[in-house]
């Protein structure tokens, strides 16, 4: 053995030992100390720490308002939901986060299943938010909802032609259906809910039929589907309600014009109800500022905050007493799909499998 390769070998061995020591045992290392939640001391700055995957600009305004009212400072790390859950999981009991906020019932349930949340109890919250818009153990509380509806061309489609999501797979829509990619969580949740109501086999056939009706390969976001209707690429699109509301007040007059060529149809009114999804907040299992966290959720589900989110973001408030903006009122009341939110999470994998099998890109 010559000196060089010996040295290389030595160095490699050294390196791998140090690597193993540093990273190999990440998951196995138990925390030596038991956590003692720091009691809120007098004079210490009151805070509540958020890991949030909800990126509404209005949220920042609401947090500032909350601080003004209560003196509790709101600290935020914004990120993507699954990444933040992973961070919570890895931080374990040392996590500084008190609340996990995200959009999508499936993801909220996933956080619960991952064991990073705990129930929160508050009479105010229970008053503000109806039971069906909360987790059954109150591991998370709904903050706002949105419906996934069918947008259609006012010129080329009569609303009488529309009925259900299921009917979009009918031959009459061949080459006319627009929808974004199966990577979109909105689509995954819609399909996950359908797996629950219609069963796996039916959804598989439906997904194949829908893909056969696509006007083009899925691309872009929800707003892009509306533009594609306006441009005549397709006639009907699956989209979230609030994007339509936002387009109507866009700073770009062309976007407003495009949205005006399109109307919304709330499907499945005579059957299972229109699919809605939810954004919500969950108390983290190892929260150190539990009381403050609950206070913030009480504030966010209160009338004033709810009305503000509805007005700025065109989502439906969870608090029935909250004032709704004109656009939301114009859509009227509609029958919503009642589904166990946990199903969105547990069915998500199945949904994704069915979609990829159907070549829904």
């Amino acid at each position: 053995m010559n000196g060089r390769s010996l040295l290389s070998g030595l160095a490699a061995a050294l390196l791998s030992v140090s690597l193993l020591a540093g990273c190999g045992g990440t998951k196995a290392v138990p925390s030596a100390t038991t956590p003692t939640p720091a009691p809120a001391q007098q004079g210490k700055e009151q805070v509540v720490n958020l890991y949030s995957a909800r990126n509404y600009p209005v949220d920042t305004v609401l947090y500032e308002e909350f601080t003004k009212q209560t003196g509790i400072k709101v600290n935020v790390v914004q990120g993507k939901a699954e990444e933040l859950i992973e961070r919570l999981k890895r931080e374990g009991e040392s996590t500084p986060a008190d609340l996990f906020v995200t959009v999508d019932g499936g993801v909220l349930n996933n956080a619960k299943e991952a064991g990073v949340l705990q129930p929160m109890t508050s009479a105010t919250i229970e008053q503000n938010v109806p039971k069906e818009l909360r987790d059954k153990d109150n591991a998370w509380i709904g903050l706002s909802t949105r419906a996934r509806v069918i947008a259609y061309s006012k010129e080329r489609v009569k609303p009488e032609q529309l009925s259900t999501y299921e009917a979009l797979a009918d031959a009459q829509w061949k080459g006319k259906v627009l929808v974004r990619s199966s990577t979109s969580l909105y689509n995954q949740s819609l399909v996950a809910a359908m797996v629950d109501t219609n069963g796996e086999a039916a959804v598989e056939t439906w997904a194949k039929g829908l893909v056969a009706n696509f006007a083009r390969k899925p691309e872009g976001g929800d707003r892009d589907q509306v533009k594609a209707i306006a441009a005549g690429v397709g006639d009907v699109a699956i989209m979230n309600t609030y994007y339509y509301g936002q387009m109507m007040v866009s700073k770009d007059p062309e976007e407003v014009k495009a949205a005006e060529k399109v109307a919304l149809f709330f499907p499945n009114q005579k059957t299972t109800g229109t699919h809605i999804n939810i954004s919500g907040a969950g108390l983290t299992k190892h929260s150190k500022n539990k009381a403050n966290a609950i206070k913030l959720v009480e504030f966010l589900t209160g009338e004033a905050a709810q009305a503000k989110v509805a007005a700025e973001n065109f989502e439906f408030p969870v608090n029935a007493k909250a004032q709704k903006p004109e656009v939301l009122k114009s859509w009227g009341e509609f029958k919503i799909q009642h589904i166990d939110w946990a199903k969105l999470g547990t069915n998500n994998k199945k949904a994704l499998e069915l979609m990829t099998k159907a070549a829904w890109q």
């Binding site: 060089r4 160095a11 690597l19 990273c23 190999g24 993507k80 691309e219 533009k227 441009a231």
Partner: protein
């Protein structure tokens, strides 16, 4: 006894401060990548079959297609522009020389949103056509596709190839080209037979960055509906909630890309690309005349317009629409944070990159060769995966340090390091070693080892040789590396998103906050600020380069 003496001599011969610093640096960089590789040794779970059956086959083909097409076009564009600017003189040449670097300042995913909106039904192109009563088939404008993704990546990544190739042509190839001319070679033959083969290491250095960036991208491809390996990784993680399989996929991706470039290095192992003379004569540009001159201006101008001017003007219009609702004085603070964070990380990266590159050069063993490839591996997988690796290491480190924290009265089991910017800075170093390293390596390849060997023979140590002999000769490469790295970090999103402490925002995370919710008009102001900051960096590089020349 003899064996022992031999061994101690061998250790003495190869052990020095450089090796020590290099190994420590490499260990820090490789540590977070280790859990990713480790995932390959765990048994795959029940999702793996679905992934390999439905996701992988198609997405692998898409990834290959995307990489090959983008690689081809970036080299075509980058090398031809570099050659044009270096070897010829034409009006506006001095402007284009640095302006063609500016596309680097535009984050590709912002460019993707901007172009798709510009070409959409409500965008400026179709709108203008409509005012002339022309209603084009909207399918002509389908940028959201494979060709659209290739278009975006080519336009906004070609400067990697351009920068490294240009500095090679300008500084290195003068004497060869003049000799070729004296020997009666035509212009075409000089380029294809002399300049291009000599520039191979430089071109591959730039190309490697392009390939890494394309493979690791999720922003552009997911928005354009192009399903690549990255899509598979995130489908597995976000859709199937299976982070282990996602990391496993990333491990394959990482091994594949690093392996690819090891093969490239191996293929040219016996060739030397360094100069044989200490007088490195810069290339004297030939003046272009007539039609060729106009063609050169149009070509450079066209590329500049599409890869910078048009999208930036469009962002400017959107910024004016949303200025009142989006702009706050707090942006000043965001700029300060983004810049100081990027500067700090860049300094560390350049230091580590120089040490490892010099180590590899001075003691070229298979070990240092592999080490030098692996320290750049963080660039070959999606940022979010690197983020998980870094997070895992820091949380584990914090756990180890818990007794120390407790002794300092910081409470029981708090996360100190992983709640600080240290974690983010280390993550930047892990991820962006490649931009710094590849630039420096290209510089070293050009210089070769002769000067160093002479200096060592004359009795200078490695360190003195490095500062007195090597560093002045690779100065240009170091500046290129600094700017490439700085600009990358200012644009960076996934690491900043996941690893930042509370309330810490950068320009990129602010842009994301809007863009993720399809609010592209609102994202214009932070995007323009990212571009502005990066522009300043590119401009400074140009000025420093000029001074170095004079």
């Amino acid at each position: 006894m003899a064996e022992r003496a031999k061994l101690s001599r061998a250790i003495k011969k190869h052990t020095n401060g450089w090796l020590f610093i290099g190994l420590v640096g490499a260990a820090v960089i490789l540590l977070p990548l280790f859990p990713i590789i480790l995932s390959l040794f765990k048994a795959p779970n029940e999702n793996w079959q679905h992934i390999t059956k439905y996701l992988l086959a198609n997405y692998l083909i898409n990834s290959l297609q995307l990489v090959v097409l983008t690689g081809f076009f970036t080299v075509l564009l980058g090398v031809s522009l570099a050659w044009l600017v270096a070897a010829y003189d034409f009006p506006l040449r001095r402007f284009f020389r640095w302006a063609l670097l500016l596309p680097l300042a535009v984050p590709p995913y912002i460019a993707a949103y901007t172009y798709s909106t510009m070409f959409s039904y409500t965008g400026i192109v179709q709108k203008t056509l409509r005012t002339f009563d022309i209603t084009p088939n909207p399918k002509w404008f389908g940028v959201m596709s494979m060709r659209g993704a290739v278009f975006i990546f080519t336009l906004f990544l070609f400067p990697y190839v351009y920068l490294i190739a240009r500095s090679f042509f300008e500084r290195q190839s003068g004497s060869y080209i003049e000799n070729a001319m004296l020997l009666g070679r035509g212009q075409g033959a000089i380029f294809f037979r002399v300049a291009l083969p000599l520039a191979r290491p430089a071109i591959f250095g730039g190309l490697a960055l392009v390939v890494f960036e394309v493979l690791g991208d999720y922003g552009v491809t997911s928005y354009y509906g192009v399903h690549t390996i990255s899509t598979a990784i995130f489908q597995t993680w976000f859709g199937m909630y299976d982070v282990d399989s996602a990391i496993r996929l990333a491990a394959y991706l990482m091994i594949g890309t690093v392996g690819l470039f090891l093969v490239e290095r191996w293929a040219r192992r016996n060739r030397r690309f360094s100069s044989s003379t200490s007088k490195m004569r810069p290339l004297a540009p030939r003046r272009l005349r007539g039609g060729w001159c106009w063609a050169a201006v149009l070509f450079c101008g066209g590329v500049f317009a599409w890869s910078f001017l048009f999208p930036v003007m469009q962002l400017g219009v959107w910024a004016s629409w949303t200025f009142d609702s989006v702009f706050t004085p707090a942006f000043g603070e965001l700029i300060r944070r983004s810049v100081s964070l990027a500067l700090l990380a860049t300094v560390i990266i350049m230091f580590a990159a120089t040490v490892v590159a010099n180590l590899h050069r001075t003691s070229a063993t298979p070990f240092t060769a592999a080490l030098s490839r692996w320290v750049t591996a963080g660039y070959s997988v999606p940022g979010a995966i690197v983020a998980i690796g870094v997070l895992a290491c820091f949380i584990s480190l914090d756990r180890q340090l818990a007794p120390l924290y407790a002794a300092l009265g910081m409470g029981t089991a708090p996360l100190v390091l992983s709640m600080s910017l240290v974690m983010l800075v280390v993550a930047y170093v892990v991820r962006f070693m490649a931009t710094g390293y590849n630039a420096i390596e290209a510089g070293f390849e050009r210089v070769g080892t002769k000067f160093m060997e002479v200096s060592r023979t004359l009795g200078f140590g490695i360190t003195r040789t490095f500062f007195l002999v090597d560093l002045p000769m690779i100065k240009g490469a170091v500046f290129s590396g600094i700017v490439l790295t700085f600009v990358e970090i200012v644009k960076e999103l996934p690491l900043a998103l996941l690893l930042r402490p509370f309330n810490f925002e950068t320009l990129a995370t602010r842009a994301y906050q809007y863009a993720s919710d399809e609010k592209i008009h609102e994202a214009a102001i932070p995007s323009l600020l990212i571009i502005g900051v990066s522009m300043v960096a590119v401009y400074v590089l140009n000025q420093v380069g000029k001074e170095a020349k004079e």
